[in-house]
Subunit: 411 residues, 4 copies
């Protein structure tokens, strides 16, 4: 908030509304003043927002005539909204950094395991073979799409807010637009068409982008938890000491993934609160705006924590390719049913092929035999590695897109 007040004063000077020396004095006070948050909170009770007491403290800290120009042209909401944008930018930078590291880890996994065959599972039933490389590639694409989205939000959604008491900037006379433009430029925030005090698209979009990011992280985390199960055990978190249980020393809980998921699960309700706050009354809301403050911080904090946890989980992930192969054999060939059907379709037609394989599967289950054994004489059951479709090609596409995003980001 002090950073905002400082930029405001300098912008007023830019537009000729406040003497340069006075603006410098205010900006200087803003950069040195130390605020006690607890006391500020206490003093905010009467006015319902923390800007009034903050301005009081700031004014007291500025000497002479300059004091009269503190908070010039602004209303409390201008300061809080713009400060929220600045804080959000810092939060996004932290999230983007962790997501970048996580994406790099996913890219390494995708590349290293392009040929690693494992069971694809739909509705948690083994369905057909996939590669772990493809699974990691789908994590990679989700992380990269989240990064691109958040970068766009950072650039275009975060905007300065300056409207004065009711959006007309009346106390700045005819210099309002000039001050607002300078204000946005100084803070390196987007300049909106008009003040957005009760048009809450920006905080709402910021919130939904955070929520979508957390959701994508949560989806990866859920995969990790499921692949870490005792009965599946295809991946494990690598952190030493990680996941220790107080009473069961043998357990290796997927603590990072579970924690990421716990953070992610808390975000949809917070996004709903932000969307729900969008209908705001006339020139300043009576409740909705105020309900955004902590909610947005919480969203940023939780998405940031989720990003950090998934970064840790992915960078340290241990892959058991042997177990992947073994699990694929659990169904005694049934996981190749679609493959057999596909191979028989040309000769028998799809309907007859499907029926034949269905009968074979049922017989295999009932008699405890492998599908290959049951179908021996009729057809062969191919090896899983021969039924991976374009998994490799898809991994290439994901890696290429990752490379392209990295180049764009570094520009």
């Amino acid at each position: 908030m002090l950073e905002v007040e400082g930029a405001l004063a300098l912008s007023c000077a830019d537009a000729g509304v406040v003497p340069r020396a006075d603006a410098d004095a205010i900006a200087s006070a803003c950069s040195t003043l130390r605020i006690d948050p607890a006391q500020l909170g206490e003093e905010s009770r009467g006015t319902g927002n923390p800007v009034v007491p903050l301005v009081r403290q700031l004014t007291a800290a500025v000497a002479g005539e300059a004091a009269g120009h503190v908070h010039r042209g602004a209303t409390s909401q201008d300061v809080l909204d713009t400060a929220a944008m600045l804080v959000s930018r810092r939060a996004l930078d932290a999230v983007l950094a962790d997501l970048g590291t996580a994406a790099d880890a996913a890219a390494r996994l995708a590349e290293a395991h392009r040929e690693t065959v494992m069971a694809g599972r739909t509705l948690l039933q083994q369905a057909v073979p996939v590669t772990f490389g493809l699974v990691a590639a789908s994590w990679l694409v989700a992380l990269d799409e989240a990064r691109a989205d958040l970068a766009d939000v950072r650039e275009n959604v975060l905007a300065a807010q300056l409207g004065g008491a009711a959006g007309t900037l009346a106390s700045l006379g005819d210099r309002g637009v000039a001050v607002a433009a300078a204000f946005a430029r100084r803070l390196d925030l987007a300049e909106p068409t008009i003040p957005w005090h009760t048009s809450r698209r920006r905080p709402a979009r910021l919130a939904s982008a955070l929520g979508e990011t957390a959701g994508s992280i949560g989806s990866i985390a859920l995969d990790l938890v499921l692949l870490s199960q005792t009965e599946v055990a295809e991946v494990a978190e690598g952190g030493s000491g990680q996941g220790a249980s107080s009473t069961m020393p043998h357990k290796r809980n997927a603590v990072a993934a579970v924690s990421a998921l716990a953070c992610a699960r808390r975000t949809p309700g917070l996004v709903a609160t932000m969307l729900d706050a969008m209908p705001q009354e006339l020139q300043r809301a009576a409740g909705g705006w105020q309900s955004e403050w902590e909610t947005l911080s919480e969203l940023a904090r939780l998405t940031g924590s989720a990003a950090l946890w998934i970064r840790d989980a992915l960078t340290g992930l241990v892959i058991d390719t042997e177990r992947m192969r073994q699990n694929l054999e659990l169904t005694q060939g049934l996981v190749m049913a679609e493959a057999v059907t596909t191979s028989l379709t040309d000769s028998l037609g799809r309907g007859a092929a499907h029926d034949l394989v269905e009968r074979g599967c049922r017989q295999a289950v009932e008699e405890g035999r492998t599908l290959a054994d049951v179908l021996a004489g009729t057809t062969e059951v191919p090896d899983p590695t021969s039924y991976l479709g374009v998994a490799g090609e898809l991994v290439e596409r994901a890696l290429a897109a990752h490379l392209a995003l990295g180049k764009e980001a570094s520009r």
Copy 2:
């Protein structure tokens, strides 16, 4: 779903996987087959999704060899997800049309009432004067930003989904990528980097864009409801017969605004459901995906209804400029307190000016006199029309942006 199956068959032909004549036969059956939704629903109980019985009916409707190529390469989720994108596009087109009409109405109001002075209200207390033109301009910008956002979602977020049983497109051999590209092209949907069956960023973003749109509409609707109050009465909905009460014939309820608000209020919870469904298990979700189906339809329906209601409310809105002026006088000049303070600041300094005006206001309230009367001899209370800051300039900016968006949309 039939449209999707048709495009799939033709795409398989494009990629040389299915004979052209067979594909044409399937596409032809898709365009003529009539499905009984209730019966399809009943038949879906066993499989948990409607695609299995749909494919059965479609296969039965296709003669000869071609029948064997129905649903080639796809899994149920491919069909449902892609169909959801097609339905969403139609819904977005309807929403965009109504938003466009509503924005035009807001633009007319902003232009016509550029000089119409009214009370700006913060926390529902009269604060400083604004113009109704500026209020309408802020509605306009919100509607136009929603339009731009939804148009972007329509173009870039809606994408084809084709991955086969677990994302490898294995049953298409090495032709998977070619078929998927043709599939997206034929349906005029974006082609994703890789299949997104359990990476739910697209439906989630679609949902949040709808929710943000509904929120913006709800905010305008709330303004209309508040300005229509018996005690405020600055605007009224113009529809004839609209708002009649069964027992109170004198009432003129803001039915369209109330209905828009009711629709909007139902969207945040649905967006939360969509975000909450993002963590999906491995290669197909066990619950989360299925929870998206009706939720997304509901979101589109409610946002569409909200758009229609706000279009009706804005196009027929009746403005009582006389009443706006009268309400501005309700506080006997107190609404000009900030203006007086601003005008005194240069001579007295901000602190002293603030104190003097505060005392004057208190005295005016206690003695039931006008602020001008109390301050007579000290300073003048200017007319509200002289304290509108850059309201006019902001209206221009909003109108210019609206014009630019219109030109872009018509390209």
Copy 3:
């Protein structure tokens, strides 16, 4: 709504406000009139609620003087709110019936599998042995608690609403309280202290009780999905034809559990919408009330569907006790680590015991040996059946509570 209008007329007669014959005529018309919902919806657009056109149709269907007494004393909201309570009661009855059947099935499972040992899993890692009887008992208690809760809501939360235009029942003169009492009695709904038109505790509590029920069902469903995984395979849904896949004939998806979970996952957002609608404006809400209508229906429908699916899943559940036993051996004894620690604690103290077992576990994992083998000479690894604590006793408690609830319900 017609049922409500009928009861209202008769209650007015009970209180001497309307001639008995007229009331009978109205009640008779209410029981025979057929309404076209689509047309009613169309006619509702102008007034924003369906009661105005309904009353118009009803009035036209009543002959002579009696027509003048239709809707006597009531406002639209009275009719809609009370009708919502009646519809909810029917919905609750259906939910309660399905939950009762599901609970009986859980009780049978708990009883039959009191001694069936399986792995207890925390954070999806095998932890210590439990019994399947205890797992089923925990489902049973959740279902029974939901039943008791919903029965309480049905009895005490569902209430008649009659307040007239603004809660004073003014058009009934001094007979308002008498009419309202008769109205509640005739509909067998609770009589509230005062009208609750803008005090939305009742619909909100109804909603949260439905949401809590759906959540409990979802938790059982999630257990079933997890225990049905290919790699766990301890339970399976028994429905014939159930869970068939279009392309993978070998799969047996847990369709009922997945569907129950999908329904459950959609309820929290709807409950949030109901809670969010609680702040309602003065004597009738401008948006919040209207947002409750479909939301409440949807909640009842989804909770009802979830109850039906879980009933089907539990009544047909197939248990593989052999597989449970095998899975318990997957960790080569590590699942007994806590048991060994406990048994060593008396002689070594807890710290030393814990350290010894931890070392043993690590060695077992690294050398691929069983824990028993590693600890041979030091201590014995007991059989899982000897480390079940009070599982049996807890099953008894659950069954006893179920029996008691059944007796209470049948009174």
Copy 4:
């Protein structure tokens, strides 16, 4: 958490599992040990919950053999869940106290203003007269129902949780049930039928009861905000200095009501998170349980803040009965339209009466005359005080219920 560990040790002694002296030593350490929350948080990262490091610190603080009995029989979740119940009880006590004071204030307002006539407003349009006493009575009933509900939750929903690693209490041998019973008794919490580690009805119900309370408070707050509007001005918050604006000294914002509303608006999303967390995996959740922790605290904090703000708003509320009367005249008699219709119904029939009054209302609006003037010669327009129905009787009922609740609470 330390309180829980202490009670656990003593309960183990009660059941003969731990020597009394050892239990006393542990309990004593629990009451004196000081934990650094930040450090505990840091140490929790590896295990994903704070109980493991807490137990480590506690064990170190207990001398000799007793140390071996720390945390005996319990798992981390037992400690966290039970601690959450204890914290919630303290929170409920604070909420209940503030709600009690608020209800008393509402009761005083209802009693004092039984005869104070004001406009009843539906959809924010003046509809028919009501009394401010009745409005206050409806606030009173909502507050009292919330109190009764929370008291019930405090008594019956808050329960001890003790299940050990997976719900069997295996490490306590056959003494598990005895220890659990003693544990609940010592903490004065309800004893559940069986452990509820993954049956989350209790935290979910606690959450929804808090959310419903916040919703009821929010509804009162919204009324206060609306009645405080500059154009309505029938009530004002009385706090001195309260509601001051930094730039508009004349404003008297309804800060307490706005703050209460802001708190309330944040609760539905949090309740949704709690409900959403209900489906928990097998014997301990991988994410859902962890997502409850801060969410529940936040809900209690926000509901508590809302209760405090509404207490302040109601106890200091200033009522302007003169303004209420003036506002009632704003419609020039139209607010009495229903009354006139009712009085004419006996002679003309309802249809004809309605039409006559409707015509009169339209004429009055168009010609700017009072309804009385327009209808002169046809009928009289009665005084609002004569059209209040059973408002007085309803106030009595609310006051009587308040008295009864107070007596019950003091028992």
